[in-house]
Amino acid sequence: MTVEQRARSLGVHLVLIAYSALAVGPILIVVMNSFKARNAIFGAPLAPPNASTFSLIGYEKVLRTSNILTYYSNSLVVTLVSVALVLLFGAMAAWALTEYRFRGSTALALFLSIGIMVPIRLGSVAILNLMRSAGLNDTLTALILVYVAQGLPMSIFILSEFIQQIPKDLRDAARCDGVPESRIFFEVVAPLLRPAIATVAVFTIVPIWNDLWFPLILTSSDATHTVTLGVQQFLGQYITDWNSVLAALSMAILPVVVIYVILSRQLISGLTSGAVK
């Protein structure tokens, strides 16, 4: 490597490191301070917890005084069910739209892509009315329905691209083999979509888990609150219980990190290698 190349690569790395620090810093401060006593949070916000400042008071309060476990399970149920439905319907729709030519298929594809361009929140009032008249107000089902609608357009878009990359010969071979169309999708195409499905899953999970807006307008009782909404009760207009807020936030981060780590293992590309050529 020449000096110039080395300098350039050093420069690139400096920029990347600075950006990473900027992105990770606040999260680190939140997690760090969640393990400190109240005085220490205000006294030295940037210092890591030590023997004298370490305290689990925030976690204790959160677990004791609030329904955090309910919120947690609500968030998990809503997120996982939504993602599962988005992936299933998204992949099936993408397959249908790319593989079969039928009357109105182009119009249908355009209609579905509108969802990418128009944010679903614009329809909040209508959604609220709809859910109320459907009797789904203040239920997790309402949230799931909204999130499936929110996630589908993008997942169809991404999965269509991936499906087009699957060699056509593979589907033809399966047809010659006598494999029924549904089995071609579930047993030949879907396994090859694994990297794409992991990508779509990550893109779908994060906004659902972090969403505050729809739980705020669609759920009213404690039993249906999600984590992001539940945390808000520690943020008062006059008093904020920082120990609890930071502890609850730290706990809220955890599942997303775990899911991401699991899925990133699935993001192995080149799964189709060996299929053709």
Partner: protein
């Protein structure tokens, strides 16, 4: 095993005609190769036999059964793809049995068929491997194995050797020929490689622009091409063509003259004075000499040495033709030479490109 009959088959995509009135009858156990330049419709024809593409009009019968309306799996065919098209997430055994599950073959029978195909194709060691761990030749054998276990009436091969390197292509070619003998299967095989076509086929179907140009035994196509296209397509290097004209007809002999060669006497047949003709001679039928039925004289411009023979590019009257010169004595560039050919090796085509010279098949030689 079964016969295959295709009648008045057409395929159009909008205004584009891909296949134009194709008629073809293939006997039980016959190995038929469809050959032609890319875009001639040979792959489309194969896909239509398979049922992967629909016909615009015309009938396809397999084993006497009208199959146009049947799905690929119901036609009793098995197809081997150029890209192998193995299921990448299944091991070799699963690749072969996957389709059988859906066609009602009981598990014990599946195992028996896989074992037999694996033995035939020397795949026993590879049954638990995945396609990504196999070499190109092994993958192609698995693809063939997947076709064999279906026990189809007709095997369809779509350029199966195109992705293999030269050495492997030759050995796999031999293997396919052996397989045909063992299975006594009806095979339709698509290729653009005329060597594959010549070596494998019982009969060759030469296609061009969606039409069948000629159907015949390999050597018939070589020695008696029905038209200019087949004459130019079969044989490498391609046949030399000379423009010519009938000068006179006397006592059943036609005297033909043209650019690039000395005059030529032919049986008159239906030739008339003034008819425009094309005279064709294969490079391998030209030898150095002085007097022959056909003789062309020129200056050697370029010599390609292949070892067992050399290709001499000879210029005469502003055009080049090729002669294959055998032996160690190769002509040198700049040398003036005369090349002659026997009358039986001279092909004559009329203005529409159809053959007019007598058919000299191998049997008559």
């Amino acid at each position: 095993m079964a016969n295959l009959r295709i009648e008045h088959l057409n395929k159009r995509f909008g205004a584009v005609t891909v296949l134009n009135d194709v008629n073809l009858s293939i006997e039980n156990g016959e190995f038929v190769v469809l050959v032609g330049p890319s875009g001639c419709g040979k792959s489309t024809l194969l896909r239509m036999i398979a049922g992967l593409d629909g016909a615009s009009s015309g009938d396809i019968h397999i084993a006497g059964k009208f199959v146009n309306t049947l799905a690929p799996a119901e036609r009793g065919i098995a197809m081997v793809f150029q890209s192998y098209a193995l299921y990448p997430h299944m091991n070799v055994r699963k690749n072969m049995t996957f389709g059988l599950k859906f066609t009602g073959v009981p598990p014990a029978e599946r195992e028996r068929r896989v074992a037999e195909a694996a033995r035939m194709l020397r795949l026993e060691e590879l049954l638990d491997r995945y396609p990504r761990d196999l070499s190109g030749g092994q993958r192609q054998r698995v693809a063939i194995g997947r076709a064999i276990v279906r026990e189809p009436a007709v095997f369809l091969f779509d350029e199966p050797l195109s992705n293999l390197d030269a050495a492997l292509r030759v050995s796999t070619r031999v293997e396919i020929a052996k397989l045909h003998r063992t299975l006594k299967a009806t095979i339709v095989y698509v290729t653009h490689d005329q060597v594959e076509a010549m070596t494998l086929a019982d009969r060759i179907v030469v296609m061009n622009k969606g039409r069948i140009e000629q159907i015949g035994k390999p050597l018939d196509l070589y020695y008696a091409p029905a038209n200019l296209f087949v004459a130019g397509f079969i044989g490498s290097p391609a046949m030399n063509f000379f423009e010519a004209r009938v000068e006179s007809v006397e006592a059943g002999r036609a005297h033909v003259a043209g650019a690039g060669f000395r005059s030529l006497d032919l049986q008159a047949m239906s030739l008339k004075v003034g008819d425009a003709l094309t005279v064709g001679v294969r490079p391998e039928h030209l030898v150095r000499g002085t007097e022959g039925a056909f003789a062309a004289e020129g200056v050697v411009e370029l010599v390609e040495r292949l070892g067992e023979s050399s290709f001499a590019y000879v210029r005469t009257d502003d055009r080049l033709f090729v002669a294959e010169v055998r032996g160690r004595q190769t002509p040198a560039p700049g040398e003036r030479t005369t090349l002659i050919a026997a009358v039986r090796d001279v092909h004559v085509f009329d203005a529409s490109g159809r053959r007019v010279s007598a058919h000299t098949t191998e049997a008559t030689r």
